[in-house]
Amino acid sequence: MLRVNNIVKQYAAHRALDDVSLQVEQGKIFGLLGPNGAGKTSLIRIITQITAPDSGEVIFNGQRLNSSHISQIGYLPEERGLYKKMEIGDQVLYLAKLKGLSTAEASKRVKYWFEKLNMGSWWNKKVEDLSKGMQQKVQFVATVLHQPELIILDEPFSGFDPVNAEVIKNEILELNKQGATFIFSTHRMESVEELCDNIALIHRSKKILDGSVTDIRNHYRNNTYWVEYNGDFDTDAPSAVFDVLQKNVVESKTTLKVKLKEGQSANQLLALLLPVVNIHRLDEVIPTMNDIFINQVTAKD
């Protein structure tokens, strides 16, 4: 649904985006990852038409991105705020109308969302009277109110307590089920694993990795296993099958982290162990997004 082709964005002496291309599929949740200052926000600002790229193009539903798409995109920036002196209800209405909703339609939807998220009593309150978390909720409603096809969330969970974070997460999943596509920018890798179908990792203005979360994690498997057993096994003796990375012994129980050598499989490892010890568990270490992130970013540094 969204294709970013060879985007370049130059700020005076600094190149914020260098030939970045990526693709967001319809109905998926797409994670846009990268360390601070990598260029994520610059890319989002181009997709939301806040700024324009120096070269390259963005294709939205087969059309080159233009101002008619504004109403189909919802954007929750990381640095977000509301008019402090304005009443909440009026404010959300105003933001919805700026996205092209009629007054009647906008107020119907605002009421629906306020009801849904238990914000009914907030209508006449001013922003300055709300807590940070409450403000975030208002902002979330303002972002999704006009039923955009594409919703871009930049660190959507910051400032929420676990209960409200869960509420928002469920809303995201529900909207996704109804067909909304998400671009999701965050540093919290556990939520990436939980929510995202696909990701792109941007580092130093360049895309260094993209693909589906499962593929990437599988790709970065490196034949490492956890083994837990009872009994004696000489781990110090050199082996043609594996190298020991880590060893813990608690009473009679031993836990090993091993990396298999080239061409070896878990079956060979088991064949070695089975005659000697009682095996409790054997599982493969699949790298977390966190590991991959750190790995990729530090490798390039």
Partner: protein
């Protein structure tokens, strides 16, 4: 376009609904009316206060001509001795005691003006002039000139300032009143531009510090947001200005009506009282005094303003004021919006505020000094052409009369000027509003200006 209207609506309503706006709008005309009332009161009091009753004790045998009462000094010859009068001073109706000792006409000396309070320089000069006049009259008579010839010589001089209008007809004008109107126009223009220009800057900074800007910019173009704010606040200014004019008009007319109505009634009762208790001559005198008072009121600054307001075509001035306010405001507010977008907080605006206020302040002070002194000079011309100063300078020049072609040229230049500043400002604004945490300099802003979209 629809979005700009929404923004204008929000900017307008959020300000007009504010308590401070309502209070200011209602209170200012009352203050204006009170000020107007006080001015009338004091101008009448001033005339009354300068009318003195002077008892003349003359022990002079050579001076036979008598001092005659004038508009502001009422001489009454009394028979009592100087010592008696001195003792009675303060208890009698007389304000001062004039003693004319026996002196030869060629060398008048020893004349005394005695009062409970020190006689002012003004009164002193007047009395001296009056005495000199009667000495001269007596000398002229002594040289054989008849009274009627003397009467022929006397002339009362009053200067009427007139100005030849465009059409060639002469119009009544008053240099004083024009100056007052010029001042009021200039000061109001300065205040309005500064006040509302700074409101634009505050609004921009508020959007930036509250971080709503990025949400807004993902829905509307920076230019729409900036123009919506500028136009919305301009409408607030117009609303306030029009309400002020209407309310001031209503309150002033009401106050003046009540005040003058009561005054007339009081005057007639006083005259009646006077007529029944005092002799006929004093009644006539009192009546003359009242008449003089009315004349004086008409000639006072207030009277002059009213008179020349009638001649000056107020509608034209008000309409032009609105035009130049809008033009000047648009010109400056765009620049203020650019500054607001470049800073993170209001305290950071200082370094930009001064250079931005300089032309406005310069226009203000030069207009009120140079232009009021020489409203047709070169300086006045250029000040009223350059858009940085023209709104103020033109307001100051208007009451003195400005040729139509100059007015038109100035208006065209102002329109061109604000289109220019809006263009420059919007280029700085679109970059500035998304910049945080950097101390901005003018150099930086010029760099932003050259950025592509």
């Amino acid at each position: 376009m629809n979005k700009i209207l929404l923004i204008i609506q929000r900017e307008y309503l959020s300000r007009v609904k504010k308590k401070s706006f309502i209070v200011m709008t209602l209170l200012t005309p009352i203050i204006f009316a009170a000020f107007y009332g006080i001015m009338i009161y004091f101008s009448i009091q001033g005339i009354k206060g300068s009318s003195n009753k002077i008892a003349v004790v003359s022990s002079n045998n050579t001076l036979t001509e008598q001092l005659t009462p004038t508009k502001n000094t009422n001489y009454v010859y009394v028979k009592q001795s100087l010592a008696d009068m001195k003792a009675q001073l303060g208890k009698t109706e007389y304000d001062y005691l004039l003693y004319l000792p026996d002196f030869p006409l060629d060398a008048p000396a020893g004349i005394q003006l005695i009062g409970k309070k020190q006689a002012g320089l003004n009164l002193n000069t007047r009395v001296a002039d009056d005495i000199e006049a009667i000495i001269r009259t007596q000398k002229l008579k002594a040289s054989g000139i008849a009274q009627e010839d003397l009467d022929k010589l006397r002339a009362s001089v009053e200067i009427d300032t007139k100005k030849i209008g465009e059409s060639g007809e002469d119009e009544d004008s008053s240099a004083g009143a024009s100056t007052v109107i010029a001042y009021v126009g200039g000061v109001l223009m300065f205040m309005f531009i500064l006040l509302y220009g700074i409101q634009v800057m505050r609004g921009v900074i508020e959007e930036k510090t509250s971080r709503i800007i990025e949400v807004m910019i993902s829905s509307v173009k920076p230019f729409q947001l900036m123009m919506g704010k500028i136009v919305g606040i301009a409408l607030v200014g117009l609303t306030q200005f029009i309400l002020w004019i209407v309310l001031t008009g209503i309150i002033s007319t009401a106050v003046v009506k009540v005040y003058t109505g009561g005054k007339d009634l009081k005057e007639t009762t006083i005259s009646k009282d006077q007529a029944s208790t005092t002799s006929k001559t004093t009644t006539v005198q009192e009546k003359e005094e009242v008449k003089a008072l009315k004349e004086a009121t008409a000639n006072s600054p207030i009277g002059n303003i009213q008179k020349s307001l009638a001649n000056l075509d107020v509608t034209k001035i008000v309409i032009l004021f609105l035009f130049f306010f809008l033009g000047g405001y648009l010109f400056y507010s765009a620049l203020y919006a650019a500054i607001g977008s470049a800073v993170d907080s209001e305290t950071e605006t200082q370094q930009f505020m001064f250079p931005m206020m300089m032309p406005l302040l310069l226009g203000y002070s030069l207009s009120l000094s140079v232009v009021t002194n020489d409203p047709y000079g070169n300086m006045a011309f250029w000040l009223s052409m350059i858009p940085f100063t023209s709104p103020i300078a033109m307001m100051v020049r208007l009451p003195y009369g400005v040729p139509d072609w100059q007015l038109a040229l100035s208006m065209v230049l102002l329109i061109a000027g604000f289109i220019g500043t809006v263009w420059v400002a919007s280029r700085i604004y679109r970059v500035g509003i998304l910049m945080y945490g950097k101390k901005t300099s003018f150099k930086e802003m010029i760099k932003w200006f050259t950025y592509k979209n």
